[in-house]
């Protein structure tokens, strides 16, 4: 039910594989903690893999936005990878799709960081 995450490094990029629900209570605080930890450790290039995320609510969307702005305010970059159709639609509806840099292939995503 709750969110799971695995963090790995590829070519200097931190990839976070998220799975499960990013919702109020369950996943949104965890996502916030993960991103804050990475930023505190000096990681500035973060790729969130949402391929196995099954459900996001407005609180989860808010957490994605705030992860994005947190990293950007530190001079870093946060990109999204592997949106499911549901998550893609949610970002379209909320007009956030063009705010995020969204990729659907890991190698391309990694290469796209400056």
């Amino acid at each position: 039910m709750s969110m799971k995450s695995i963090t790995r490094q590829v070519d200097g990029i931190t990839i976070v594989d998220l799975s499960g629900r990013i919702t109020l209570g369950e996943g949104s605080v965890v996502l916030r903690d993960i991103v804050r930890d990475l930023v505190t450790k000096g990681q500035r290039k973060i790729l969130l893999n949402l391929g196995d995320v099954t459900y996001i609510d407005s609180s989860g969307i808010g957490e994605l936005v705030s992860a994005f702005t947190t990293v950007r305010n530190q001079g870093g970059e946060l990109k999204l990878l592997n949106l499911t159709k549901k998550v893609h639609d949610l970002l379209q509806i909320t007009k956030l799709y063009t705010v995020f840099d969204v990729k659907d292939d890991e190698a391309t995503a990694v290469a796209a960081f400056k």
Partner: protein, 148 residues
């Protein structure tokens, strides 16, 4: 679809939010909605329930949220009420304008409106009642007009 109404009174907790979401999913599916619409309905209900518990009742153990599902045959009508301080919709900003786009919150009511055919918000004394309608066969314009 045969007409029927079921109502639940729940504590003001995150667990109740999950219960509301799961019940909505189940009843929407029973009412014959396809997978995509079941998800839209359950997401709208989750947003309304979060608002009732968080902004309305503020987790007060003495305040309850109620959620009612009515299958009218033409539509699933879902009503979420709380006993909170009331919601003035005119003060809720559009989350998709440039100045609000990067805000962390403020997308709940917008998502309810996106996922359902009709959303009505009414002040109780005290509390808020949110009524959400999903038509069995997509948005029925004449029905929407009639209920304004």
């Amino acid at each position: 679809m045969t007409a029927k109404r079921v109502s639940y009174t729940l504590d003001s907790s995150l667990q109740s939010v999950n219960t509301a979401e799961e019940t909505a999913q189940l009843l929407a599916s029973k009412a014959g909605f396809d997978e995509d619409n079941c998800l839209r309905i359950s997401m709208a209900v989750r947003e309304a329930a979060v608002n009732a518990v968080l902004h309305g009742n503020a987790y007060d153990p003495n305040k309850k949220m109620t959620i009612a599902f009515e299958n009218t045959g033409r539509a699933l009508v879902i009503t979420v009420t709380d006993e909170g301080r009331g919601l003035d919709v005119s003060k809720v900003p559009d989350p998709t304008t440039p100045e609000n786009l990067l805000k962390q919150s403020g997308r709940g009511i917008f998502l309810m409106r996106s996922f359902m055919d009709e959303v009505r918000i009414r002040l109780l004394a005290p509390g808020t009642e949110v009524t959400m309608v999903k038509n069995v066969s997509g948005p029925a314009e004449h029905h929407k007009e009639a209920s304004k």
